[in-house]
Point group: C2
Chain length 212, copies 2
């Protein structure tokens, strides 16, 4: 994989995922080409933005012809690291959120395979979750070290999240998706993404306030 010397904004990565979804949708409709103008309009950004986002990764598209949909989708999948690749994911927390994430189809479709689930609740430990036995969170470090996991998802209550994060770092997990509403203290080299669902609602209330 080529390395990217330039600083790539987080929002660009996010938009690449959005472009990919749109390209896949257009492809499934039998379309073969799209201009940056039409694509940008569909995505609600400027076409300069689309071109800038893609320019970090090379040259795409031809003037007058636009982007080849299938090729661009393939390239974006490569960039995002989801091209013919699977990622081994550990899920910490088998509560409502954990179970919802476990059965989330989109993960599997994109190559993110949840291969271990942990919880600290004796009532949950040992239970079967879609073919996987929920493990005691006490066994997290040895299990993840041995199993060479890539990504961990934290879906535990706020109070336990930091402790879980510490164990994940000890288990040499390099990427964490955190659902606990808490600023985790982890080493800089560990890649962290926080999901804060109230932020999504705040974006709605912003627009609703404007309508009032």
């Amino acid at each position: 994989m080529r390395s990217f010397s330039k600083f790539i904004p987080q929002t660009t990565i996010y938009r690449l995922s959005l472009y990919l979804r749109e390209l896949e949708r257009l492809n499934s409709k039998g379309l073969t080409h799209i201009s940056s103008k039409v694509l940008s309009k569909k995505m609600g950004v400027t076409d300069a933005q689309v071109r800038r986002d893609l320019s970090y990764f090379g040259k795409f598209g031809k003037s007058r012809v636009g982007y080849n949909i299938e090729k661009l989708a393939k390239k974006i999948r490569q960039i995002l690291g989801i091209d013919n690749k699977t990622w081994k994911v550990a899920l910490i927390g088998a509560g409502n959120l954990g179970r919802a994430l476990f059965s989330y189809k989109g993960f599997r479709e994109r190559g993110f395979l949840i291969k271990a689930v942990f919880d600290s609740d004796p009532l949950k430990i040992g239970k079967d979750l879609g073919g996987i036995r929920v493990k005691d969170v006490k066994d997290l470090v040895p299990t993840l070290k041995k199993g060479k996991f890539d990504i961990a998802i934290i879906a535990v209550p706020q109070e336990s999240a930091q402790e879980v994060a510490k164990a994940l770092v000890k288990a040499r997990i390099r990427a964490i998706l955190n659902f606990a509403p808490l600023r985790l203290d982890i080493p800089q080299k560990t890649i962290l993404r926080n999901v804060d669902l109230s932020m999504e609602l705040e974006s709605l209330s912003f627009y609703l306030s404007k309508l009032r």
Copy 2:
């Protein structure tokens, strides 16, 4: 509320939420001022970006002194429509995801109050969920119309999402947060935000690919 004539990027609104969380954290630590430089560093964006984001809404901060943390947080809460205001939210879907969202503390803290829950499963209808009785989704339109709801959250399986969206539009809901992995067909005036959790994982796999 003042109206915003300029086009405000979705990503700016998203970052406002991020800034707000950081400002609140700093405020709780007793800090009173912060420069755009320090704030931007903490948020992983450039300080020009911070200033541009805020510039849509007026002039903030003083040179040399920086931003007054409490004032800026208050202003951002106003902009986001979460300043001393509550929003009435309906939740459609009482499965794992729905129940996880229902018990999500962050919503309540920010003034988003889930006041009705709907499902189509006879085993779930009538059950108590944290003090609220789960209603039959068949009663969605009259209930929401009568109750003057602001926001609806769709947490139903993909197959039922479009039907639910149609009912929500009929019930004159103006803002929808959609968790179903599906492009909903709704009128342009309805504000829609889609949550696609695999996009968060794609951002992690992007960085992991770079490390390989």
